[in-house]
């Protein structure tokens, strides 16, 4: 059974159909990419999945239950974590605190235990802190636990965002352009990180990415969007040679010329 399934999902802004009847299925344990030109509706699709926008039509099922009508925090609690295209960390909080916020849904902490610092509160906080440090190190951040998130360099901020998303122990991780603005070395490192997240933790990954090296290298399946519609789907090899994809990226004339290597 698919982990995530969308049936005819629509999202309309005024006269603009941002997502037009997208049918999409995501099998558990896979790494899948969504690609498409700017303005294709990829991020809108993410925002619809995570409840920031409510769909104007269609069904979204996650883990066998419908997500339509749920608030973003309820969807997050069901097991969908995400990162953002433009990094959205809690800048005035420390690195560890950012990760602890990611654990919010798993921490119990009754008001009484919090006020009286009961043993179970302290134990839970200490355990959460330990887990946060481990996550920091897992994504490759060391010795910056007490730094403010806003003071980290760009690449480290991207990693922190991933650690924060992982802190929620998600079933599905949505990554919105995780390699944007990174140099080739950093890109390679995060690509390896994504693969290990899937292999070691069994987390399904759906990512939006413009960097075709990342997409072709990591994805087992690719979904292509253009003007709010899903125009193609398949393995990286299939997508590479799909004329509709080349047309969407390079224009109609390019199909005749078969400039497909430019895409890759």
């Amino acid at each position: 059974m698919a982990l995530l399934e969308t049936i005819n999902v629509m999202k309309v802004f005024g006269g603009l159909t941002a997502i037009n009847k997208v049918n999409f299925q995501l099998e558990p344990g896979r790494i899948v990419s969504i690609i498409g030109p700017n303005g294709a509706g990829k991020t809108t699709f993410f925002n619809t999945l995570t409840g920031i926008y409510s769909p104007d039509g269609g069904e979204i099922n996650f883990n066998g239950r419908s997500l339509v009508g749920l608030r973003p925090d309820q969807i997050a609690a069901r097991g969908i974590s995400r990162t953002f295209q433009n990094i959205r960390l809690f800048g005035e909080m420390s690195v560890v605190e950012n990760i602890l916020v990611g654990m919010h849904v798993h921490l119990r902490q009754s008001p009484l235990a919090t006020l009286l610092h009961l043993r179970k509160f302290k134990a839970e906080e200490a355990e959460a802190e330990n887990k946060a440090v481990k996550l920091m190190q897992y994504v490759g951040l060391r010795g910056v636990g007490n730094e403010l998130a806003k003071n980290l360099p760009y690449g480290a901020q991207r990693r922190l965002e991933i650690a924060r998303a992982l802190a929620a122990d998600p079933l599905l991780l949505l990554l919105d352009e995780p390699a944007a603005g990174m140099n080739p070395q950093e890109t390679e490192d995060v690509t390896r990180l994504f693969r290990s997240i899937r292999d070691d933790r069994g987390i399904t990954i759906l990512l939006i990415e413009h960097d075709m090296r990342v997409v072709m290298n990591i994805s087992e399946h690719i979904c292509v969007m253009d003007y709010g519609e899903k125009i193609a789907e398949g393995t990286p090899a299939e997508i590479r040679s799909n004329p509709r994809v080349i047309e969407a990226y390079l224009g109609r004339g390019a199909v005749a010329g078969q400039h497909e290597e430019k895409l890759i």
Partner: protein
């Protein structure tokens, strides 16, 4: 340049036994000055500021606690009973510090700009004003026509019960305000809360008809005080009578008692605030303040967290309202004007948004500025006006100076000026909020600059 020089000087004396010596010296000097010149504002400032050397200098925690307790529970009451005006100023500082701490949760932690905070203060004050006075028996009388010799509705001791009730009632009011405005952010939220603050004040002003709940603009008086145990007055006089130089009357002791109550509330508030701030709720508040969208994507229920912030901030104001009503024995809508809300907000921003010691310092600074420094200038100016003195060089007689130039009237100008200057030079406030440094196992020691 000046700040670094000061920093170096400060650092030189901030180790070893120096801090203890400075704290003791400062306190003794302040006490001595106030003792010898009971009417000098400067002496009083010297004494009050000793709390800040206590806060700023590094010393043994046990020493600090003992010094703080002695200062707060012995020196202040003794000096205060000698000159009851000081005790009044200190009480006001305490009340405003509690309000600033409450608003700090809403504005500083959760980032929700609330311009009508004083409404919750009013709710608490009117709660006790209604139940702790004769107001219940004059429901059917227009203001000013009530018969005399009416009994009080509740005995004075119900006051303590109402301190708890006010927490609940104000928290519920906070939730009621929060519910409709949850969808609003920033400026819109500020305007709606401003409106709410005015609604409460206007209600207090007009709820004298059809049933006379609030006695309208005349306000409710007298309001009950909790009963004062006789032995307390006697034992206080026995212990401190010789230091004070006269016997403390019951009225004096009420001042001392309300000061102690306010102090106790501040300690409870600080304790609760710190514990909550360092839990998942506090982190969720800060996350909401920093980035609402990211916070909600991390599974933080926005509505519940904002309501919790509103309710908690409101409950602190509510309990201080009860305290105010009882200590003044008089409450009128005027005490809850928009300017009060702005005043409390000024304290929070001046001290440092999101900072607990900042809120207290902000409250102390603004209150002292209002009650002591501006009043002092006004007094000085009016003395000059009555004298024959002239301003040198321009040969302008002080007597001819317009009465509009009364510093006490420039409170608003000063608030505005403080806010603008703070935004330019020290946007983080006098004591900026700091994140707690954690000892992280498995982390290399974080190097500090």
């Amino acid at each position: 340049m000046i700040t670094t020089g000061f920093r170096q000087l400060f650092d030189r004396f901030n180790h070893g036994l120096w801090p203890c010596a400075i704290i003791i010296g400062h306190t003794l000097l302040g006490t001595f000055l106030v003792y010898s010149t009971p009417r000098s504002s400067l002496a009083f400032l010297a004494l009050v500021s000793s709390f800040f050397s206590l806060y700023y200098f590094k010393a043994d925690t046990r020493f600090k606690i003992v010094a703080g307790v002695l200062l707060a529970l012995v020196v202040i009451p003794v000096v205060g009973v000698r000159n009851i005006f000081y005790l009044e100023v200190i009480f006001q500082i305490c009340v405003f510090a509690a309000l600033a701490l409450g608003l700090n949760i809403v504005v500083g932690f959760a980032g929700l700009l609330d311009l009508g905070y004083v409404a919750f203060y009013a709710v608490g004050a009117y709660l006790w004003a209604f139940f702790g006075s004769q107001q219940f028996y004059v429901l059917h009388f227009a203001p000013g026509t009530q018969p005399s010799n009416l009994p009080f509705l509740l005995p004075g001791d119900a006051f303590y019960l109402f301190m708890f009730l006010a927490i609940i009632v104000a928290a519920i009011t906070g939730v009621f305000l929060g519910l409709p405005v949850l969808r609003l952010r920033g400026d819109y939220l500020a305007i709606v809360t401003l409106g709410f603050g005015e609604v409460i004040r206007v209600l207090a002003n007009n709820l004298d008809k059809p049933l006379n709940f609030t006695n309208g603009p005349q306000g409710i008086t007298p309001i009950q005080r909790p009963t004062m145990p006789e032995p307390l007055v006697d034992s206080f006089n026995n212990v401190f009578g010789s230091l004070i130089g006269h016997q403390a009357s019951i009225a004096d002791m009420y001042n001392v008692m309300f000061y102690f109550l306010a102090l106790a509330m501040i300690i409870v508030i600080i304790f609760v605030t710190r514990r909550i701030d360092d839990s998942k709720i506090g982190r969720a508040w800060t996350a909401v303040r920093e980035d609402e969208t990211a916070a909600i994507a991390m599974g933080i229920p926005l509505v519940r967290m904002k309501l919790a912030a509103f309710a908690m901030g409101a409950s602190f104001a509510g309990v201080m309202g009860v305290l105010l009503a009882a200590s003044r024995t008089f409450i009128s809508p005027e005490s809850f004007s928009f300017m009060q809300s702005i005043g409390v907000l000024t304290m929070v921003i001046l001290g440092g948004s999101g900072s607990i010691p900042g809120a207290i310092l902000g409250a102390a600074t603004v209150t002292l500025l209002n009650l002591q420094i501006l009043q002092g200038f006004s007094l000085y100016l009016s003395e000059l006006r009555q004298s024959d003195a002239v301003i040198p060089l321009i040969n302008f007689a002080w007597r001819d100076l317009s009465t509009q130039l009364d510093p006490a009237k420039y409170q608003r100008l000063l608030f505005g000026l403080i806010l603008i200057l703070m935004m330019i030079f020290r946007p983080g406030g006098l004591i900026p909020a700091k994140r707690r440094k954690r000892r992280l196992a498995g982390e290399e020691a974080v190097t500090e600059q």
